[in-house]
């Protein structure tokens, strides 16, 4: 659980950078066997996290309807609605 939270906090960019660093370290070939196994495992889990991050969001196209100063709702948005462009508060 704690780990999961941590994964949320780190940005995709940071993971990508980490992944590149691991690839680089492994390709240099100067790691001990233990270190390279560790790097391998870390790299694989990071790439898994990256893929998860890429697939996390669900496709959702919604329209915001503001109903008052603090009131609003969302409706599915259809491009073909051809609705009126005027939406005042």
């Amino acid at each position: 659980m704690k780990n999961k939270k941590k994964a949320e906090d780190i940005s995709f960019e940071d993971y990508l950078r980490k992944l590149e660093k691991i690839v680089h370290r492994l390709e240099e070939g100067e790691l001990t066997l233990e270190e390279s196994v560790q790097a391998y495992e870390e790299g694989m889990s990071i790439s898994k996290i990256c893929l998860e991050k890429l697939n996390k969001t669900k496709k959702k196209i919604e329209k915001l309807v503001i109903e008052g100063e603090d009131k609003y709702s969302t409706k599915p948005f259809s491009e073909k609605e051809g609705e009126d462009a005027i939406h005042d508060f």
Binding site: S11, F12, E13, L16, L19, E20, I22, V23, L26, E27, G29, L31, L33, S36, V37, A39, Y40, G43, M44, S47, C50, L51, K53, L54, N55, K56, T57, K58, K59, K60, I61, E62, K63, L64, I66, D70, Y72, T74, F77, E79, E81, G82, E83, D84, A85, I86, H87, D88, F89
Partner: protein
């Protein structure tokens, strides 16, 4: 005609100089804006521009020197309605007055253009455009909002392109007026609203498709500029065409030339990212495989080394050592034996010289009893008539004792 005096007669150049001074000293003629239509426009090879500014009833010659016209945003042409700013002065050589133009603005855009420039300067001085305060957009946006007209091509383009690049994206469409007098206020309010209720948004695209300067004007208004500046959520400004620049563009965290470019530039291509990750993955797999191969090779060569250093080799070495030792021992013993042989030989020689035979050789002889072979040293050992043998160097003489005679010394 008769009452002129000599002192009132001017030369032509003096007169023109005087008139020129008059013009120059009249502030009503300096730094003025004049509205008119361009005609007879000529761009000289020197870079200076010559033209006439006219209205229905009148006209004035104008010159705009190279130093002033280099900052023009458009190429003036005949028939254009323009506003020009300049000083009215006298061209002494021809005794003509003309307008020395410093600035030309297309008349239709004039007011707005001036307002734009003024607001731009003001907000710039306040630091609203400063690069340091611009927020960075995340590489993988997940939730974005688009404030624009819900009917225009802009929203369609943004949605289509965004989803093509990143199929699982959450887009919140916030319909808004994008032109007209209340548009700026409405867009600003919606930015504030999103900041209040949708803090998790990765960024907001604010924009509209192309249009005239008037149509795009909402994006040049201060209220919208301030709302963009105050937004905690990064703002992408996507207004009009490539060539249109608005105040919103300057304040926004990212300016993109068109609404479709907003999607192209802010939404990553998911396939590219997937490829990147997969390439990294296979690189990691390859690298670890190679690492393990290298280590295996290493172990193999260590094993070979170990064998070389191992007990088998050591034993062989001892064998060799022992062999060598035995050889040394042998040679030592041989040497010793030789030494003994030598000594024995020497002793034998010495023994030889002591041998009784050597004495006998010199003429002595040994007398022995035949029976018992007892050497006869004294008379009492034998009796008369007993058989004795006398040994000499080359044989023995058998004799019989006839008489015993003692020696008296």
């Amino acid at each position: 005609m008769n009452n002129y005096t000599e002192s009132k007669i001017y030369t032509v150049s003096k007169l023109n100089k005087y008139i020129k001074k008059l013009f120059e000293n009249d502030y009503n003629l300096q730094d003025v804006w004049i509205l008119g239509e361009l005609s007879n426009f000529k761009l000289h090879s020197s870079g200076h521009m010559y033209f006439v500014l006219k209205d229905k009833e009148s006209q004035i010659r104008c010159v705009m020197f190279r130093g002033n016209n280099s900052t023009l945003r458009f190429m003036p042409g005949d028939g254009m309605k323009v506003k020009v700013r300049g000083d009215v002065g006298v061209y002494e050589k021809r005794g003509e007055y003309q307008l020395y133009v410093k600035e030309i603005v297309e008349a239709g855009k004039g007011e707005l253009y001036l307002a734009f420039e003024k607001l731009k300067e003001k907000l710039k001085d306040e630091g609203l455009f400063s690069e340091e305060i611009k927020k960075k957009l995340p590489l993988i946006p997940q939730n974005i909002a688009v404030i624009t007209s819900s009917t225009g091509a802009a929203i369609r383009d943004i949605i289509t392109i965004s989803l093509r690049r990143f199929p699982n994206l959450s887009i919140l469409v916030v319909p808004s007026l994008v032109q007209g007098t209340s548009a700026a206020k409405e867009i600003a309010k919606k930015i504030d609203f999103l900041n209040c209720h949708f803090k998790g948004l990765d960024f907001i695209i604010v924009g509209r498709g192309g249009g005239s300067l008037e149509e795009l004007w909402a994006f040049n208004e201060e209220i919208l500029a301030r709302s963009i500046y105050n937004s905690k959520i990064p703002i992408v400004s996507a207004v009009g065409h490539e060539t249109d620049f608005t105040i919103s563009d300057f304040v926004a965290d990212l300016r993109v030339p068109t609404p479709s470019a907003a999607a192209e530039m802010t939404i990553p291509d998911k396939n590219n990212l997937l490829d990147n990750i997969n390439v990294s993955k296979s690189k990691i797999s390859r690298a670890i495989k190679r690492n393990i191969e290298l280590k295996t090779e290493n172990i193999n060569s260590l094993c070979a080394n170990l064998k070389y250093q191992g007990p088998e080799n050591k034993i062989n070495q001892y064998f060799q050592y022992i062999d060598e030792f035995i050889a040394r021992l042998n040679s030592r013993i041989r040497h010793q034996v030789e030494l003994y042989e030598e000594r024995v030989k020497k002793d034998a020689q010495r023994l030889d010289s002591l041998s009784p035979w050597a004495v006998i050789e010199r003429g002595y002889s040994i007398c022995r009893k035949v029976s018992g072979k007892e050497i006869v040293k004294r008379l009492e050992q034998i009796k008369v008539g007993e058989n004795i043998e006398v040994i000499i160097s080359d044989g023995k003489i058998l004799s019989k004792v006839e008489k015993k005679e003692a020696v008296s010394n």
